[in-house]
Structures are given as C-alpha cells and as structure tokens.
C-alpha cells in the first residue's frame, strides 16, 4: 500500500517534472514559453539546466541557464542551497523546484504547481502529519489542551477526588510544591521510582483519603496537564529531591 502511494507520488512528480523540464536542454523540444524566456536572456547563448538533489533524494532543484560545462555561479548556487534547505522542512514530501534564469522559483509537489515561491515562505501542500502545522490546526490543539487543563484545574481545586473534603490546592495553591520537573525520582512514600501521576495517586489515597485513579484515567491526565501547565518554563531535573 505504502509503495503504491510512493510510486504514485513519484509518477505525479515525474509528470510535473516532465512538464517543467521538457524544454530544458537543447532547443529542439522547447515550448513557446521557454523560447520566449530564452529570448529574454540572449537567444544566441547556449544554456542548460542543472539538477541538484538534496541528501534525502526527495528534494530536487533544477537550475536553468547554466553554461554548459561550467559550474553554477556562487550566488545562484547559494540560492539552490537555500531553496533545498528550506524545502527540507517538508520532511517526507517529494518536491521539485525550478529556478529560472531570472531567479523565479516554481515549485511542484503532490502533482500541483506553485508559482513565485519565496524561500522561507508558506507552501500549503503538506498533510497535517508532516511539516508545519497550519494555523487552524494549532488553534484546535490549543483549544483541546486548554479544555483538559481547565478540567485538571477544576479537579485540583475540588473535593471530589477524596472523601474528606481536602483538595490538592490546599497544600499546593497554583500547583506550588508539586515539582513535576523533578520526576521520575525515588519517591520515599512509594519506596520506588515514580512518575508524577503515581504521586498524584498517592496523594489522592493518603491526604485526600480517596480511591486511586487508573493510570490512564482521563482525570489523572487532566491533573497532570494542569500541574505541568502551571510549572511551564521550569528546567527538567529528574531525580532532584
């Protein structure tokens, strides 16, 4: 299944590539657009396209207007490198970029073509599981986290986890003194190395006189989310007592 997709992508890429590079070498199979462009540079000049692959063999930059037998001049080579490194942020995508003689960059990916690409600019071609998250995705993720943290906040301050009216916030206002950044560590109360949620459970059972939560209970996840959100920015120091 995976290989089928891959070859499909390759095919699409190849077709796109073909479209872009069809008129690349020599003059005989050039399209009208290509000829017009060449005319701008200097029709008498012989030139060719040079292909530069990135190390992952998935990012390709085709440079137009290179004199045959010569290296790509330094400024253009730097642009090639910049484009390649920039495209590398789309980790698993097969992308081809074409740099024209006048440094206009066209990018082809997933069978679509994007004109006038700028290095470092957005390229909304990628699937959510790779590369940069979109603004909408980030908003969704934050809203979800805020919801869980708010639930944790509520539980942390409520008396429903225990049986005696003691709340976590009574010894830990604003989650102070919880030190989540010091876990995992040997927890003397548990006589073994513990994680934050193990200690949360211990506290629920002991000072709160309640019943322990299952380690995958959404409530304990919410409590951890709240505690960690209150301690943002603290350096990790596992094992610190």
């Amino acid at each position: 299944m995976k290989s089928m997709l891959l070859s499909g992508a390759l095919l699409a890429g190849a077709i796109a590539l073909g479209v872009l590079t069809a008129g690349g070498s020599g003059g005989s199979a050039a399209s009208d657009a290509e000829r017009a462009r060449r005319a701008q540079v200097g029709a008498q000049d012989e030139w060719e396209s040079r292909s530069v692959w990135a190390c992952d063999r998935r990012k390709l930059v085709v440079v137009e207007g290179v004199r045959p037998g010569e290296k790509i001049p330094p400024e253009r080579a730097q642009l090639v490198a910049d484009v390649l490194m920039d495209l590398m942020r789309f980790c698993n995508e097969e992308i081809t970029a074409r740099i024209s003689v006048d440094q206009v960059i066209t990018v082809a990916a997933n069978g679509r073509v994007f004109e006038n690409y700028v290095v470092g600019g957005p390229l909304p071609i990628v699937n959510a599981s790779f590369g940069e998250p979109t603004a909408r995705e980030q908003a969704i993720w934050k809203a979800e986290l805020d919801k869980v943290v708010a639930e944790g906040d509520r539980l942390f301050h409520s008396d429903e986890l225990g049986s005696n009216g003691v709340a976590c916030a009574m010894c830990h206002p604003n989650a102070s003194n919880t030190h989540p950044e010091s876990y995992p560590k040997f927890q003397t109360q548990l006589k073994k190395v513990a994680l934050l949620r193990d200690m949360v459970n211990w506290c629920i059972q002991n000072p709160l006189e309640g019943k322990a939560l299952a380690v995958d209970d959404p409530r304990i996840e919410a409590l951890e989310a709240y505690i960690l959100s209150q301690r943002k920015g603290k350096a990790l120091e596992a094992g610190k007592h």
């Binding site: 009216g165 604003n174 000072p207």
Partner: protein, 382 residues
C-alpha cells in the same frame, strides 16, 4: 563561649573543652553503656540545657538568646496567652481529620501548666462558612479551660457575610486591655464586592473566597470604617502602652495572589506607628512566619488543619522557614502555640509544631536580627 556562627563541630569542640567530667560523660554516652544509659543521657541533656545548647528544629545545636538580657529573658514574662488557629472545620463529625486536629490543639492548650491567661482563636473556624461548621467549632473550643477571644477569618465570613459569626461570637472587631497591654482584634479580611456584578450565589462567593489561589476575589483590607474605628480606639491609649493587634491577614504585603496581603497595610501601620511597642499576631498563612516593619513585630500562627507552602516571592527575611511538610502525616507542619507577653510589651512566640520540635522566636532575637535559622536551608521549598 558559644557564638551563633559556630559550626556544629566547633560547638561540639567548645563544649567538650568545658570540663573533664563533661568529656567523660560525652564519651560514655557515645559508647552507650546500657546499664548507665538512662543516667548518663539524662545528665547530658541537663548539661546541654544548662549550657544553653538546645536542639533547634533538630538541624544544629544553636545558642538560644542569653537569658540574662533585659528583654526576652525567661524571668521577664508578664503573662502568657495561647492560640488555636485556622481549624477549617467541615461539619462531618468528630472523626473528620480537621475536627480531630482542632480537638488535639484544645488538649494541648488545656495541658499547659501554668494555664494561659486566655486563648486567642485566630480565624477560619469553619471551612465553608456554614452554621453547622461554626457550631462544631464552638463545641470543640468550649472545652478550653481558659477564656477565649475569637477572631474572624474569611472562611467564616463570606457565606453569609458574617451574620452567623456575629450572632455566635459577637462583634468582628473590638478591643480589650489585659495586664497593661492594649489588645485590638480586627476583621482584616474585608473584600471589595466582587460578587454582586457577577451574580454569584452565597455558595459560589464562599467557594471563591475559600480558594487561596482563586483570583476572582478581591484583596483583603481592613477598610476605611474599621481604620476610623481603630484611630478612635487608639486615641485613648497612651503611646507608651504596648499594643497587640490580632488580625487574620498579615497587615503587611507578602504575596498578593494568595491574599497573604492587606491592601491598606501601610495606612494601618501608619495608625500604629506612634506607639512604642506594637505586635501583630495573624493567621491565614499556616506557616512559620516572622516580620518586622518599623516599630511593629509580626508573628504568624500555625494552622491545625494543613500547612501552606511558602510563597514564590515576598517572604520576609526574618522568617525561619519550616521544611516542607510530609503529606503522609496529617499533623506535620500544623500545630498550635502560645505567646509569652514580656514586661516591656513585646512577645516571645512559641510554635508548638506537631511531629516536629517546637520553635521559639524571641522578641530579643527579632529586635537584634539574631534569629537562628535552620542550618543550610535557604529559600522556598518549591
């Protein structure tokens, strides 16, 4: 012979040099000859006490202030009063841990010999301001042999705006004189109305105020009407008369987000400024807490219910911090205590920490900045 800056080794060396007999006793204790164990160890303790070496919070041997000085000496105590504070009772019967703890404090005070002249209740008798909680508290405190002066806390007030409290215990601010000291009891947990515009029910209002870290409530203050009353009350008091103020909030600014704070602290302190000797005794903070501002010495009381951690900032430098408490032990970091009122008007504070060694902070130490601290422990525990 012993200085505050001595290391434990230095003190032990100096102590050993004291006399040959003492040396032998120390040696025999180290070898712990079982048969003579009781005798030698008791003698050693007596020696240690006689030499003013008293274990302090079990961290290091420290020289307690010399008893012969003019202020703070043991012979200088004019009278004693005890306190029980911040019981935070739920009305769930006497087996509930908070009720047991409150009863434990009452037992401690009743076991004091000699009995204190009176007992101060430091506020937050109830947890959620309910009549049943206040009634339970009244029932527990009734067992105290000495007379009790009551002070209100925010947990007592914000369910019904103090109606039940006033009905059961009288006015929320008043004053009285005792053996030459003028005592003032304030309601220092007044909050600007945050509930009406938001449409909170009494229950919601109480729950919000009950959350130490709940920022929806206002900051504590004494407020103008009470400051006026205080001015009037103190107008009749001679400037040389020692003044002792009982307040739930600290009457200074320690940490705003947790209402370890009195908004009009400066104004209240200004009213107190003309007096030679002023002591403020406050609750709410549930920790060892000491401060000094100008002519005023501030002492925080322990809670019987649970300890608060030290705030991330604002801790007065004079405070000897208690180490963070053990959550397994419901009494750790909690307790009760007493104050020894000295003839010059200051107080020595005696913290009776349950499960830990007691801590005494004398007025002399506070006045001369010589409060001994626990060895090596600096800064908040979190």
């Amino acid at each position: 012979m012993y200085r505050n800056d001595m290391t434990r080794k230095e003190i032990e060396r100096a102590f050993a040099e004291r006399s040959r007999e003492d040396e032998r006793l120390i040696q025999s204790l180290r070898n712990c000859d079982r048969r003579h164990f009781l005798r030698t160890s008791l003698k050693f303790a007596g020696m240690a006490a006689a030499a003013n070496l008293v274990p302090f919070q079990s961290f290091q041997l420290v020289n307690v202030a010399n008893a012969a000085t003019s202020e703070g000496g043991a012979g200088d105590v004019a009278f004693r009063f005890a306190y029980v504070s911040d019981t935070h009772l739920y009305a769930r019967g006497m087996t509930h841990r908070f009720a047991r703890a409150a009863a434990k404090a009452v037992e401690d005070v009743n076991a004091l010999d000699p009995q204190p002249d009176f007992v101060l209740f430091g506020g937050d008798l109830a947890q959620l301001g309910r009549a049943e909680e206040l009634a339970l508290g009244q029932q527990i405190l009734k067992d105290l042999k000495a007379p009790v002066h009551m002070m209100v806390g925010e947990h007592d007030w914000y369910f019904d705006m103090g109606e039940k409290w006033k009905e059961m215990f009288g006015p929320d601010h008043y004053s009285f004189d005792h053996k030459g000291v003028h005592f003032v009891v304030l309601n220092s947990v007044v909050e600007k109305d945050f509930w009406t515009t938001n449409g909170y029910t009494p229950e919601q209002r109480m729950n919000i105020v009950a959350g130490l870290d709940d920022g929806r409530q206002s900051r504590f203050e004494v407020g103008e009407p009470q400051r006026e009353w205080l001015k009037q009350d103190l107008a009749k008091v001679d400037k040389k008369t020692p003044v002792c103020v009982f307040s739930h909030s600290p009457l200074y600014k320690y940490y705003k987000p947790w209402n370890f704070w009195t908004d009009d602290a400066e104004q209240v302190q200004a009213i107190l400024k003309p007096f030679q000797t002023v002591t403020v005794i406050h609750g709410h903070t549930h920790q060892l807490l000491t401060n000094k501002i100008g002519n005023i010495q501030f002492h925080g009381m322990l809670s019987t219910a649970w300890p608060w951690p030290y705030a991330p900032e604002g801790l007065p430098a004079y405070t000897v911090q208690m180490l963070r408490s053990d959550p397994f032990n419901q009494f750790d970091g909690c307790g009760d205590g007493r104050f020894d009122a000295l003839s010059k008007g200051r107080v020595n504070t005696f913290y009776n920490l349950w499960t830990r060694n007691p801590v005494e902070i004398t007025a002399q130490q506070l006045a001369t900045n010589t409060i001994p601290g626990p060895g090596g422990y600096k800064g908040p525990s979190y």
